[in-house]
């Protein structure tokens, strides 16, 4: 999904070129190259997933987990946290992509590096850094105290706010890339044309740049939302007891309760839920696309 979404956001990033008519004599040999990956993925990817789905249908697991108030709570948490972080991420990601797009070559490479450093850094490192910054005697509280804005430290860590901060930080690069791709695909002359026709910078942005980068925004939104529903580390490290998401519930069922069917049922519910939302989202976008106007 990640690949498909990104590729759609950037025309010309498609797959390998289709070859000339295949030479049947030789083809079998080259198909052998596919054997290792197919065997590997069937054995170690499809089989475990199949077993997981199978086990979810044993012992009335679905009825059991859906009756658990903690599960319904974590489902609500997951949707609310994922939607909030997606919205914030896409807005901030758009700002970054816009600056990247408008930068000269050298600046663009530097700023790309700034975006990519957190991308290359593991989630635990990033969440640890945020915990250091947001804790009671951390940098943020210290700063606010020093300028006399607060007397006692603000509770910045172990709450919903902290979870969203940590998640947005992890998700930002995933929003920047598709948005940047769609901005980069805009013909630069369009802005010149708009200006020659009397548009100010704000009008150029609102009427030209923004609508033409809409595909990137929607691709980013979908990608970020899907990734955000699976967060596990951040709620534990940065959230409070009331901020657990569905992934934490899966962990709880599997490792604390050793209720594998229950955990499997939760995993299936998460996957199905995300797929449904993604499908609806894309259908709504497609319908909206037919009525796009000034």
């Amino acid at each position: 999904m990640a690949q498909a979404t990104l590729a759609r956001a950037r025309p010309g990033a498609g797959g390998p070129p289709s070859g000339a008519p295949p030479k049947r004599r030789r083809r079998a040999g080259w198909l052998l190259l596919l054997a290792p990956v197919v065997v590997f993925d069937v054995l170690l990817f499809l089989t475990p997933l199949g077993k997981l789905i199978g086990s979810s249908f044993t012992g009335g697991a679905y009825a059991r987990v859906l009756a658990d108030p903690l599960v319904t709570r974590s489902l609500v948490n997951t949707l609310s946290i994922a939607l909030t972080s997606t919205a914030v991420t896409v807005v901030l990601g758009y700002v970054i992509a816009l600056v990247l797009w408008r930068s000269g070559t050298v600046m663009r490479v530097i700023l790309f590096a700034v975006v990519l450093l957190p991308f290359w850094t593991g989630i635990l490192v990033k969440n640890f850094a945020w915990a250091v910054l947001l804790q009671d005697n951390g940098l943020v509280n210290g700063f606010l105290h020093n300028i006399g804005l607060i007397n006692a430290p603000l509770p910045l860590l172990h709450n919903r706010f902290a979870v969203i901060v940590g998640m947005v930080h992890c998700l930002l690069p995933y929003a920047v890339f598709p948005i940047f791709s769609s901005l980069a695909a805009i013909d630069g002359r369009l802005a010149l044309a708009a200006r020659s026709l009397g548009a100010r910078e704000a009008a150029v942005f609102r009427r030209i740049t923004l609508p033409l980068s809409a595909p990137g925004i929607s691709a980013a939104g979908l990608l970020v939302f899907i990734i955000s529903t699976g967060f596990f580390i951040t709620p534990v490290v940065m959230g409070g007891p009331g901020d657990m998401m569905i992934a934490n519930e899966i962990d709880y069922y599997a490792r604390q309760l050793t209720d594998f069917p229950g955990a499997a049922a939760l995993a299936v519910i998460l996957t199905v839920l995300v797929s449904i939302i993604a499908a609806v989202y894309q259908r709504v976008l497609k319908a909206g696309g037919q009525h796009e106007t000034l």
Binding site: R10, V132, H169, A191, G230, A247
Partner: protein, 276 residues
């Protein structure tokens, strides 16, 4: 098409740049504070640091719990990189410039591990490896990492193959070259950059992966992120900071390699992982 730089000509850029400064700071500052925190003089985590010392670093390397976590991470990453490169690259070459029934299914299968939430995969692997009796070592963790690393190597290799004309392969074959020598003389030079960046990806994916490693951890097979995750829930210690600093250093090296590569190719599009 013309020499004037269309999108930028005469645009006043200041307001946007100023507005974006806090956003860029938000993005990069947390990653950057990790190193000074690790070099802090104090026994507690503070930022800004009281003073600079290597005490925490020495403490980290003197603690067998942390060094064995580091070694477990390295072993898992080694398995993930080797398997990921072999499977990902062979898939990319096998699929390059070919059309056959079921091709889309193969591509889908290769990419699928990227889109399944890691927590779902973690559960599936956990269940699976228990059922086949392969637990209590680093091997299942390495295998699991290889599964999610393979699509990254596939994508980077495929991107570098995009510049290779399939007719070249066919003409080499028609000149009598065997599969192996076609690979060595036609594919290898083209895909090498893709392989290297794919291997970097695989390493990075494995070294940072937490959820699957957490599910499958055992006394001898606790990776660095798992150790960090466990400790972090009790206290923010300087050793976690050192471990973070190590991982940031690895990330920076990977990033620098990528930047050098981009500057050589002069294409910022290549900085976008996955889409590149």
């Amino acid at each position: 098409m013309k020499r004037f730089s269309a999108p930028r000509a005469g645009i006043r850029r200041k307001p946007l740049s100023l507005l974006s400064l806090p956003v860029f700071a938000f993005l990069v500052v947390p990653t950057l504070i990790v190193v000074p925190v690790a070099l802090n003089n104090s026994r507690y985590i503070t930022f800004p640091p009281d003073g600079i010392s290597l005490a925490a670093v020495q403490g980290f390397f003197a603690d067998p719990a942390w060094t064995s976590a580091l070694s477990a991470s390295m072993q898992a990453a080694a398995i993930a990189v080797v398997l990921g490169v072999v499977f990902g690259a062979s898939a990319a070459i096998g699929l390059h410039g070919r059309k056959f029934p079921g091709q889309q299914a193969v591509v889908g299968l290769v990419l699928a591990p990227m889109i399944v939430p890691t927590v779902v995969l973690a559960l599936a692997f956990y269940q699976f490896f228990i059922s086949v009796g392969l637990v209590g070592s680093i091997v299942p963790i390495g295998l699991a990492h290889a599964v999610i690393a393979t699509p990254y190597v596939y994508l980077t290799t495929r991107a570098s193959l995009a510049g290779l004309n399939p007719a070249l392969v066919r003409s080499a074959q028609s000149l009598g070259a065997g599969t192996l020598s076609v690979f060595r003389h036609v594919h290898m030079p083209v895909i090498l950059p893709g392989l290297i960046s794919g291997a970097l990806f695989a390493f990075s994916v494995s070294i940072d992966e937490t959820v699957m490693s957490l599910f499958m951890q055992s006394p001898g097979a606790t990776t660095l992120p798992v150790k960090m995750f466990t400790d972090i829930q009790f206290n923010l210690t300087p050793k976690i900071a050192v471990s973070s600093a190590l991982l940031v250093t690895v990330a920076t090296i990977g990033l620098l390699i990528q930047v050098v590569y981009v500057l050589k190719r002069r294409s910022t599009a290549r900085m976008m992982p996955l889409a590149a």
